[in-house]
């Protein structure tokens, strides 16, 4: 698998710093699971965080800080870590499977014309996360973005007039992009899409039914 579209430095640093909100972070984490190269970049950004931490001027705390910590440590129960159960094989990466409650074969899709979707619940009310399944060879209706859209391809691939995206690729689209993604012929394309504003469809009919479809 050759990934051509990687995390940009802004996303990488905000994720490393911990300031990126949950919705966007979900897309970043899925790309990282599929992209060893960006995992190295994240390690570098976290090393930078460590270096900055070392360089901070120490701030003194209460006199009994160490005593308090020792007491808390003595009172803390050392509960053994729960073993994590993992399947032998998986198609969708973590942390996405946990958000969806299962892997690809257990999903309940909702129809959306040439596409199907699943809305994903997160604790982040500034973004909407969804899983999209675009039928092989079919387009998603032409749309622009009222805000930002992060898309991570999980299986299959799609292209638009400008570029093409395969498994693991991440697309960072801002409000200025109008595009019509088309799934490639060989298979359905499943991707994770995070948005912070409703998509703006070029078709008036679609704009009218948009609230009903929850997109």
């Amino acid at each position: 698998m050759t990934i051509r579209h990687h995390l940009n430095d802004d996303l990488l640093i905000d994720y490393a710093a911990g300031t990126l909100s949950e919705g966007w972070s979900l897309a970043v984490a899925c790309h990282l699971a599929m992209c060893p190269q960006c995992r190295d970049q994240l390690a570098l950004a976290e090393a930078m965080g460590g270096a900055l931490l070392e360089d901070l001027a120490p701030v003194a705390g209460p006199d009994d800080s160490w005593e308090t910590l020792k007491t808390r440590l003595a009172n803390a129960s050392e509960e053994p870590a729960k073993p994590v159960l993992r399947p032998a094989r998986a198609t969708l990466p973590e942390p996405l499977r946990s958000y969806l409650g299962g892997d690809i074969e257990s999903l309940k899709w909702r129809n959306l014309g040439n596409a199907k979707q699943i809305l994903i619940k997160t604790g982040d009310d500034t973004t909407q996360a969804r899983l999209l399944r675009i039928a092989a060879g079919k387009p998603v209706p032409e749309h622009s973005h009222g805000g930002r859209e992060l898309t991570v391809v999980l299986t299959g691939s799609f292209h638009d007039a400008v570029d093409s995206f395969g498994p693991g690729d991440i697309e960072d689209a801002d409000g200025s992009l109008t595009h019509q993604p088309i799934a490639d012929e060989d298979q359905d394309c499943i991707c994770l899409a995070i948005t912070d504003a409703p998509l703006k469809f070029s078709s008036r009919l679609l704009r009218m039914v948009q609230p009903l479809l929850g997109i």
């Binding site: 990488l12 710093a17 949950e22 190295d40 090393a47 931490l53």
Partner: protein
């Protein structure tokens, strides 16, 4: 270049050895030494993020407890001790202060795409990396370091930071990219 009075950093070897000792024998002397060295800096970091002295103290204690509990997960051959401690303090802040989840990959996930051997970057030896990173940070123009610090120590988004500094958002982003690029170059083996 102006001297910005950046301390030389903490010897990561010593800190690594302390974390390993905590994991291996629950060594309280190592834990106290680690607390004396890093506690005040973790407190400083959390004070910047929360601007609340009591919260910074509480979150620092939570971080140290997590360091104690998770010491066995630290692999001294794979990364800097300070980076590992930073991620624990950061996750404590997200979890306990911002009450958010931080989606993260699972390193043992069967769907994780492993690194191909040939892709492994030719980075400096772990031992040299800390010093190289500090040197590169010192060598950066102040305008870039400031934005890197704000990215890590301020919850505000890049656009809020840009507005506060009276800079176009594009300038803020390009300075961050430039700075990150230079730090990356500093860690790559010079051939």
């Amino acid at each position: 270049m102006t001297d910005r009075n950046v301390p030389a950093g903490i010897p990561n070897d010593t800190i690594s050895a302390q974390i390993v000792a905590i994991a291996a024998t629950r060594d309280m002397a190592s834990f106290e030494a680690l607390f004396r060295e890093f506690g005040p800096r973790i407190r400083a970091y959390l004070l910047k993020l929360t601007r609340d002295g009591q919260a910074a103290e509480d979150l620092m204690q939570e971080t140290m407890l997590a360091v104690w509990r998770k010491a066995g997960q630290f692999d001294p051959t794979r990364g800097q001790a300070s980076a590992w401690i930073f991620t624990i303090a950061r996750n404590t802040w997200i979890d306990a202060w911002r009450k958010q989840k931080r989606p993260a990959l699972d390193p043992d996930d069967p769907a994780l795409v492993p690194a191909a051997e040939a892709d492994a970057p030719t980075l400096l030896e772990l031992k040299q990396r800390g010093a190289a990173l500090h040197e590169a940070l010192k060598a950066l123009p102040e305008e870039q370091v400031e934005l890197i610090r704000l990215s890590f120590f301020d919850e505000a988004s890049h656009s809020t930071i840009a507005a506060r500094l009276g800079l176009p958002i594009g300038t803020v982003k390009s300075r961050i990219r430039l700075a990150f690029g230079r730090l990356r170059a500093a860690l790559e083996e010079k051939k």
